[in-house]
Amino acid sequence: MRALTVAFVLAITMLIAPGLLAQDEAAEPDSTSEQGTEDPADERAAQFVGVRGPDAEQVPGGALLLAAYAVVWALLFVFLLRMRGLQRQTADELQRLSAEIRASGGR
């Protein structure tokens, strides 16, 4: 019977306590906000800080344009070099095969 009473009291405490705590927590911001409005001078800026990093940069249009045109010509040049490499590789392979055919007495 005593155990049942203790369990009942504990259960009631667990049910009610969170509600009471929550009320207290909800009340706390009100008190802080009141404090905040009490001293508006705290909200004022006390210093000026210069912006550094990406936000401070002026996007350089000329450099971007130059980079874009360089990309176009560089990629075209690389493609032409690749084609030349493929062509040379094929020509060498064909010469090797021709020599092999000649060596084997074929046409």
Binding site: V59, G61, L75, Q87, L94
Partner: protein, 241 residues
């Protein structure tokens, strides 16, 4: 130049076409590029809002058009190859895919350089940007598949199917700015305010120059691919004599 070098170096292999025509086309394209540079930097005015960075547009948009041309030729070559099984169409498919991927790379690199100034970001998942990236990835897969040693018949047919699949993405790129909301400009697709007349001239010349360049590159690359195919066939015959 490349086609003639190719023909000189490959005795016994049928020339890919008229070297004279190729040379004339090369000269015309070079002249067009000279005129384009003059029109872009001297004639066309600097754009009011974006400034000088807007001039990227004159190479970016024709590169996108050359990309369509390359991928379209690749899909056409692949379709005819699947029907006729003639290696020359397969060579055209490879050439178109390579040239298309080259121009796709140019588009995907020059676009962000413009966007950094115009939009404040290098990249955004705008429908047109996303579908262009998708097309590039499809044709990069095509080239990866074809670069795995000597491609057999199965690999060639599978790659041809991939090129045809990639073709489906091309209208999506073109109409994405009209069908879906995005941030990509629409100055030449009928929804924007258009261009000034000098800007149209510069863009028109650039379109012609890039068309000539794309045709020349596809032509030369297809000739090399045909010769590679011929060499592979000879090697196979020698091994099985």
């Amino acid at each position: 130049m490349l086609a003639s070098e190719t023909n000189m170096g490959m005795k016994g292999v049928r020339p890919s076409g008229s070297s004279t025509l190729w040379g004339l086309m090369l000269l015309s394209t070079l002249a067009l590029f000279g005129a384009t540079l003059y029109a872009v930097f001297i004639v066309a005015p600097v754009e009011m809002q974006m400034g000088i960075v807007q001039k990227i547009f004159y190479f970016h948009v024709p590169s996108a058009y050359a990309m369509y041309l390359g991928f379209g030729v690749s899909a056409l070559g692949s379709m005819v190859y699947l029907i006729k099984r003639d290696p020359k169409w397969d060579a055209l498919g490879v050439a178109g895919a390579e040239v298309g991927t080259l121009f796709c790379l140019i588009v995907l690199l020059t676009g962000p350089l413009w966007a950094r100034k115009a939009w404040g970001v290098w990249w955004t998942w705008d429908p047109r940007l996303t579908t262009t990236l998708l097309a590039g990835m499809i044709f990069a897969s095509y080239l990866a598949l074809r670069s795995m040693g000597n491609a057999g018949e199965v690999e060639k047919r599978f790659a041809a199917g991939l090129a045809i699949f990639g073709l489906v993405d091309l209208p999506l790129i073109h109409y994405s700015v009209q069908r879906w909301r995005g941030v990509h400009p629409t100055v030449i697709t009928g929804k924007g305010g258009g261009l000034e007349s000098e800007m149209y001239w510069a863009l028109g010349l650039s379109f012609l120059a890039f068309t000539g360049l794309a045709i020349l590159l596809i032509w030369a690359r297809a000739a090399i691919e045909r010769q590679r195919d011929e060499t592979a066939r000879l090697r196979f015959e020698l091994m099985h004599r």
